[in-house]
Symmetry: C2
Subunit: 357 residues, 2 copies
């Protein structure tokens, strides 16, 4: 168990007057126990107790052969798994629930405890996970370093004339070559007009002269994610592409420069958005500036107008302004940043200069 | 919308006295609407109403440009999405909930409707999805035909001495070559001792003389899955491997022969299990005989001792007996079967004879 992390969660549970907190997110359970397991449809819950008697409820199909330093309560297929939780609670009054716990489990638990109050308590772990400890920082720095190396390989593949899908298929092997475990998400390789959809799905398109190429990709390294976007141009570049690219780059770099403890996330979003607005492309930047990342590629926390939390040392999030011009092209430039004592460390070093391949 | 399918669901809703059923599973929504969308953390619900005024609740980030023939109720990030559901209900008393609806949505809805009853209603759609209509059958027959072709390619790669991971990485491109869209699940390539774990994760192992090789793989074709396992041997085979292989093959083939409408799923499981028990390997066959499959690779419905439903025409499920000998080797042989009027059609034709490569 990682007692420092659990103590931080217990502090927030106390503020919310929770007796118990049932965590079901596999990554959050691993964050607390150092043990990652994907139970698919089976019940799998780590219960944090204000009394200190934390328990892991686990189906015996998932044999755990490590010394976890956590009490495991086993159940079998066919058992009443929810009852095993109830049996280990003392006078449960206010019970915190994981935001993503499947309703079938919650409905069954409510039936057994008709007088208890059930509260979505995920902020108690999500807020703690926003700040990375030193162990996590080291892994995420390495994940981004590998991503920088892999970006050059992907750009080289773009030169060879493969389709978007063909390039994307080769990425897991590239990551493995550099020591990572594979993709942290399905990469986006978007040629020309396809790049005008910020969430384009790779297709069989081939690159054409003067296409922009958006490459959004990330790997998993020892359980932690990277995520970076670069936009390059094939065979040539138009005046308009230069204008849009330089504007996005300025938004990216200016936003990164203002990051330090105490600055609000919404103000970082505003900084980048103002630059793109002033350049006349405001309506074509139609998503948040960034998201938090760690064990999951999208974690709780946005760099957006609706998130007014202050930045703290140890936070890691993306800065990814973009401009998407329907039927023309798109540009996005994304780095991960780690907030330091008095600024931030940009975790990606792959060049942001205009590159024509 | 697919009104035949929705009518079948409405029948089961009536038996359960439900006023509304909130479906959140993207594949179940696609089953009803012919439109597939993965909303990630956003709320996405198809509401089936006993009054007939079905609605799709959707975040406006997910632009739908097809003519869906369904009323869409849009919300934006920042809106109270749950309120949009409440606003479209008339006197909700008993509300069916998708088994996997994230708890945060259910808790928010319960707060707004304190007098309503909430019921896990997933069986109302899961039971309907167990029987495939003709359109689905055609797609699943093709998905399995492609899987048969791809199996030979994978066996050829095994001859070349690649590692488990390296072989697995090449499979998506093989499927695409044959017209499918990629894997339906992470394939398992297990050499020798690794095959003694029925859920082995591919690693960097290389094949050795007299290793068994378990290959469990499947593709997605136009939204529908295939899933097949074959076990072959590298360079030679031992007497014990022959004995175990023939026993598993007999269990597979005998179980498949007994399948026809009216036979109970649990009895099919028992038939295969009895054969392996009689052969003296009963304790090494430690999983259910099969599972249902369709839009998802694992759908509701088991071929197991705890499932006493009778087989009906149109059902498609797997028959996959296995024997897993710790520290030695494993054997599994799996086909998909489609229940016909008076028997079943085995959807996989790749040979089950002993093959030494």
């Amino acid at each position: 168990m990682n007692n420092d992390r659990i103590d931080n969660i217990l502090e927030l549970m106390e503020e919310a007057s929770l007796d118990y907190f049932l965590i079901s997110d596999p990554e959050s359970i691993a964050y607390c126990t150092n043990y990652l397991n994907y139970p698919y449809e089976r019940m799998y819950v780590f219960m944090i107790s204000k009394h200190g008697d934390h328990k892991l409820f686990c189906n015996d199909l998932f044999y755990i052969d490590e010394d976890l330093d956590v009490d495991i309560v086993w159940h079998k297929d066919g058992d009443d798994a929810i009852q095993t939780i109830v049996d280990h609670m003392a006078f449960p009054n206010r019970i915190g629930i994981d935001k993503n716990w499947p309703s079938r489990f919650l409905l069954a638990l409510m039936k057994k405890l008709p007088k208890a109050k059930f509260i979505n308590a995920s902020p108690c772990v999500d807020l703690v996970r926003m700040k990375k400890d030193l162990h996590e920082q080291v892994l995420m720095i390495e994940a981004s370093r590998i991503n920088d190396l892999a970006m050059q390989d992907v750009i080289d593949l773009c030169k060879e004339g493969l389709s978007e899908k063909e390039i994307a298929q080769k990425l897991p092997a590239i990551y493995i070559k550099y020591g990572a475990d594979g993709n942290s998400f399905e990469p986006m390789i978007a040629f020309g007009k396809n790049g005008a959809d910020p969430h384009h799905s790779n297709d069989n398109s081939h690159v054409k002269e003067c296409d922009s190429i958006i490459i959004d990709m990330g790997c998993i390294y020892k359980g932690y994610c990277s995520d970076m976007t670069r936009t390059v141009f094939f065979g040539g570049i138009t005046e308009k592409q230069i204008e849009v690219y330089e504007l996005v780059k300025k938004a990216n770099e200016t936003a990164e420069k203002m990051i330090k403890p105490g600055v609000k996330l919404c103000d970082i979003d505003k900084c980048a958005r103002d630059i793109i607005n002033e350049g006349g492309y405001g309506k074509y930047f139609n998503h948040r500036l960034g998201h938090f990342i760690g064990r999951d590629v999208h974690e709780y926390g946005d760099v957006s107008a609706s998130f007014d939390i202050e930045v703290e040392e140890g936070m890691i999030f993306s800065i990814e302004p973009g401009i998407y011009l329907p039927n023309e092209f798109g540009v996005r430039i994304e780095d991960l940043v780690l907030v330091t004592k008095d600024g931030c460390q940009v975790l990606n070093s792959y060049s942001k200069d205009i590159q024509i391949i």
